[in-house]
Each structure stands twice: as structure tokens, then as C-alpha cells.
Symmetry: C2
Subunit: 325 residues, 2 copies
């Protein structure tokens, strides 16, 4: 049997056609598909491109796809889910089961292999999301960069720029972030950063992209950079803590909760995992941190397989990892 999983994001959208052994038959990548920021017309164009590509690569398998799951960035409201479902259905084989959900769901499943649990995603932005039995769900954060996006790339880059201006103003400690970031923009002095930061259409992405200099500076022992990463870890933990307390408020003696840490920021997970563990242990929250071995789109494939009644096995992970790498 064949299933199709999609991970739709704010920067790109990935689709994978797979069988129940985790063998990948075709794969395609197109542009962003968040209807909130792009509108449905542009989203439809990208989705058509994606499904056309997968169909053309493996027409026979595509015709036999019986289960489909798309985790879509911005796919939060029931109305959006229905509308997106209708859109996908137009391009899928007749009779194929279609499910559209928030992209936090497949990020979670990429770590829990389809089981309930909690996911904290830190990329450019951040969100904490959880599902417990009976599909009860809740979220914390994810309100965008102006409200902080705790532990996100934006929040790390933003703190870096603040630290640079604090040093310049004589309020803050000395930091090598200043030379790293001024050099990066070929600038001679700190106020030169102002027009770059206030290019409002790009502010979010630019500040988030500066997070890499914070890792670099921290690796070289810079105290300010290390503090920024420590603070990010604290924020992640506080969001996870708040989510668990909210999700399990009527169930204080819950089983150990898997907590998936997903998103680009966790390529440098070593800076955060010990801080998160320490804070969660302090509150006696029974959790198990998971750094997923599989990409978020694997979570979509898993959701599609579950929808078709297939149990996920270790051999699935093994073969998906091999084919997708």
C-alpha cells in the first residue's frame, strides 16, 4: 500500500510517497504553502506543482495512494483544514483518505512515531504543542516574533543585537558578537545595523539568521553568547513546562511524556538539552526528551499510515532514514 505525506512550511513544502515498510518511492520540494501569509491561490499553485511532480516520478504508485496526510504551517483552524482538504482532494486519486492538520502534529510524530506527546519547535519562530489521549490538544506560544517566540532563532538573534547595542551604550558586557556581526554586514560601527534591522519586511528572517553567530561565539567561550543560549534553553523549558501543566492539569500522575525537540535550532541541541532537563526535573515532570532521527515529513507519512491502520515499526524508521538521506 502507498501513502503520501506532506510537510508544508513557511519557507518550503516537502512531499514524500512511501509504502508501509518506509520505502520512499518519490519525493518533491516546492515553495511555501502557508495560506495565512500567501493566500489560497498561490498555495494551490505550489500544491499542484508538488503533486504533479510526485505523480510524474511514479505514476503507478501515485494512482494507488489510499491515505494522505498534510501537516500545514498555519493549518490551525477547522475552516482552513476543510478548505485545504478540498484543495488536495482535487489532485489526489479518487477515494484517497485525506487529512490536513497543523504542522506541529507531524513534527511531534517524527519523534514519537505517531504517539501522543509534546513537541517544542524552534526554527525562525517557535511553538510548543501537545496531544494527549482522545486527541485532546493544546498549544503555548507561537504568537510570532513581536511577542517573543521563546527559544526561537529570532529570539536568539534579537538578543544578540540587543547585546551589541548594550555594549555600545556602555550598559552591557563586552562580546565578540559585535565584531562577528559587524564583519558579516561589512559595517564599521554599531549604529550602522539600524537600517538593516528596521527593514521591516525582512526583520524577522534577518534577526533569526544571526543566531548562527551566537552559536559560533558561544563555542569560542563568549560569555554573553553563552548567556543568550542559556536563556533560550530556559525559555524552551518554561514553554514545555507550561504546556504540560495545561495539557495534563486534571491528570497530575500522568505517564512519562515524550517531549520532541524539533526545528533547525536543535542542530545545536547540546546547548539546550541539559538546561531543559534541569528545569523539567526541578518540577518533577516525568518527561523524556527526544531529538527526532527522522525529518518532519516522516511524521506526515506516519500519520497517513496510522490513518490506514498500519503500525509503525523500527524497520520503518531504518528504511525511511536510509532512503531519505
Amino acid at each position: 500500500m502507498f501513502v503520501l505525506g506532506i510537510d508544508g512550511g513557511g519557507t518550503k513544502t516537502i512531499g514524500v510517497l512511501c509504502d508501509h515498510h518506509g520505502r520512499v518511492y518519490s519525493r518533491a520540494v516546492v515553495g511555501p504553502t502557508n495560506p495565512n501569509s500567501l493566500g489560497y491561490d498561490r498555495v494551490e499553485t505550489e500544491i499542484q506543482k508538488l503533486l504533479d511532480s510526485i505523480r510524474e516520478q511514479t505514476p503507478d504508485c501515485f494512482a494507488k495512494v489510499t491515505s494522505f496526510f498534510a501537516g500545514m504551517s498555519g493549518g490551525d483552524r477547522e475552516e482552513d483544514k476543510r478548505r485545504m482538504s478540498g484543495l488536495f482532494q482535487q489532485y489526489l486519486p479518487k477515494g484517497c483518505q485525506v487529512q490536513v492538520d497543523h504542522d506541529a502534529v507531524n513534527a511531534l510524530y517524527s519523534g514519537t512515531l505517531g504517539k501522543p506527546g509534546v513537541v517544542h519547535i524552534s526554527g525562525t519562530g517557535s511553538i510548543t504543542f501537545g496531544i494527549r489521549a482522545q486527541n485532546i490538544r493544546t498549544r503555548v506560544g507561537g504568537w510570532g516574533f513581536l511577542l517573543g517566540d521563546p527559544g526561537s532563532g529570532y529570539s536568539i538573534g534579537h538578543r544578540a543585537v540587543k547585546a551589541i547595542f548594550d555594549e555600545f551604550d556602555g550598559i552591557g558586557e563586552k562580546t565578540i558578537l559585535t565584531s562577528f556581526i559587524l564583519n558579516h554586514f561589512h559595517l564599521g560601527h554599531v549604529p550602522g545595523l539600524i537600517p538593516i534591522i528596521y527593514d521591516m519586511k525582512k526583520a524577522r528572517e534577518i534577526l533569526a539568521s544571526l543566531s548562527r553567530f551566537v552559536f559560533l561565539a558561544a563555542e569560542q567561550g563568549d560569555h554573553v553568547a553563552k548567556q543568550i543560549l542559556y536563556k533560550a534553553g530556559q525559555e524552551m523549558a518554561m514553554s514545555i513546562r507550561a504546556l504540560i501543566l495545561k495539557l495534563h492539569q486534571d491528570e497530575p500522575n500522568h505517564e512519562t511524556i515524550p517531549v520532541v525537540l524539533a526545528g533547525g535550532i536543535f542542530h545545536k541541541a547540546d546547548w539546550f538539552v541539559p538546561v531543559i532537563e534541569e528545569i523539567l526535573q526541578f518540577d518533577h515532570l516525568q518527561t523524556k526528551l527526544i531529538l527526532p532521527e527522522l525529518p518532519p515529513v516522516a511524521g506526515s507519512v506516519i500519520a497517513a499510515l496510522q490513518q490506514a491502520g498500519v503500525n509503525i515499526t523500527d524497520s520503518f524508521i531504518h528504511s525511511f532514514k536510509q532512503e531519505a538521506s
Copy 2:
């Protein structure tokens, strides 16, 4: 003798024609005149309108103006000062002495009556600025809302919205700010605030305008609101402290420094003055806080009078206050 003082801001520009006794002969208000955000063409139109109005109200006095001072928002760089001076000169009587400076200078003088000192301005944004003997100057902050603008209306409003989302997420304390601000926008639920906050052209002004609900909630005893105002006072104090340490770094035993608190946020100064005093006293900084009795444009008139060699007396303050009210 007659002088002309101008206070040029990001939202409006005020001009006052005055004599050395502080008697006001004419007064005009036009739109914003910050060349950084508007461009010189629009600034020239407003300036012409302002000076035309003052001339038409009192043509005889206008013809006898011998000294002119304009404190201009964004008038920071020497190049801008020169260009603005040239612009004013075109519309002023021949031979009139013209000086253009940062608008923090006249805000300072509105409290020190032309003496050196420190000013912290908190309106929509914030900046801390100081002048010591020999016209040595420095600044701290004022880097705009994305970098925090410590103690500003923006920072207060921003914290209010964060507190509302934290309460909603189950991370933060309960606060009446939620009902105040949801009612204000006729909203039924917290996420409804998102499109309002992310209207990027207005985000800064909208968040700053919400500061009034923080005062309202604090007056009704709301703990979250009181904490936000306390934090703003702390930030103001830390900026003032940093500025003094920077400005007088080679002069630890300086005389008592006047610290002027200017800008709209200080209409509710009682929330901040005790916090600022406590923090500055803790550091044994010899300062004297001043809440100016005169508006910022009076500082411009004072600067114009000083330029003409006139000493400012108490009777000046008395009569300016009477005429301007």
C-alpha cells in the same frame, strides 16, 4: 529682542516666537518634521507652513527675530544639522543666527533652563541623552522599538500584550489588562489581537498607545500592570545610570547632576520617580530629578536666548508658563 524656538518631532512640530521676558507673541503647530522618516521635501513644506503662520500672526516681531533654535527629532548628524539650518535660513529674516540640534537638547533645557545635565525622554520611544561642560555629549538607547526603547510607551504597551498572551497560554498571572485591551478593540478572544499587532506600519504606535491601559490597571491595583510600570522605572534608571557613568567616567566626583524626565509617559511620573530615585541612590550617584514645568519648545526658546547672550530668570519661566497655558 525677539527669538524663535522650534520643537520638531515625529508626530508634530511646534514653533514659538518669544521675547527675553518669556512673553509669547505667536505660536504655530504643524505636522512631523523628521527628515529620516519623511524626506526633506515634506519637511520643507511643513517648515514653510510653520514659519509662514508665525510671520502672518506677528509680522513686525518676526522681522526682528535675531536668534533661532530648532531641536529636531532625527537631527543627530552634523550633515543633517547643516542641511536643516540652510532650510530654515531661507525663511528667516536676514542676519538671524540659526542653530539646529537634536530635540533631546531642548527637552533637557526645558528642565535645566539651559544648563548642562541629563535628560531621559519617554514617549512612544525613549532616549537618554546628556551634556556636560565644554559641550561634551553622549547618549544611551533610542535605537527604536525593535531594540526595546527602555521605559518607553512602546515597551510598556508591549509588555502588556505579552502579559495577556502569557495569561492566555497559562504561563502568566491573571490580569485585568486582558479585559481592558480586548474591550478596547471589541474582541472576544486573545488571538484576535494578532492581526492588530502585526499591522507592521502601525505596530509601534498601536503598542505604545496601549500603555494607558497599564496605568489604568495599575491604579486599580492590578499586580501585573504594577510590575510592568516598576520594570519601566527600573529600565529608565538603568539607562540614566549608564549615561552618567559614560558621560562622567573621568570625573567620578562630579557635582549634582540635574536629570530631566521628559515626554508623555511622565504625565504619570509618580509610578517611576521613586523607583528611579532608589536605584540612582543605591549607586551613590549625585543627581536631582526634575519634572519640567515648561514644554520642550520652551527649551528651544531658552537655547535661542542663550545664543543671543540672555540669562534665563525665574520671571521668564513664570511668564512663559502663563502665556503658553
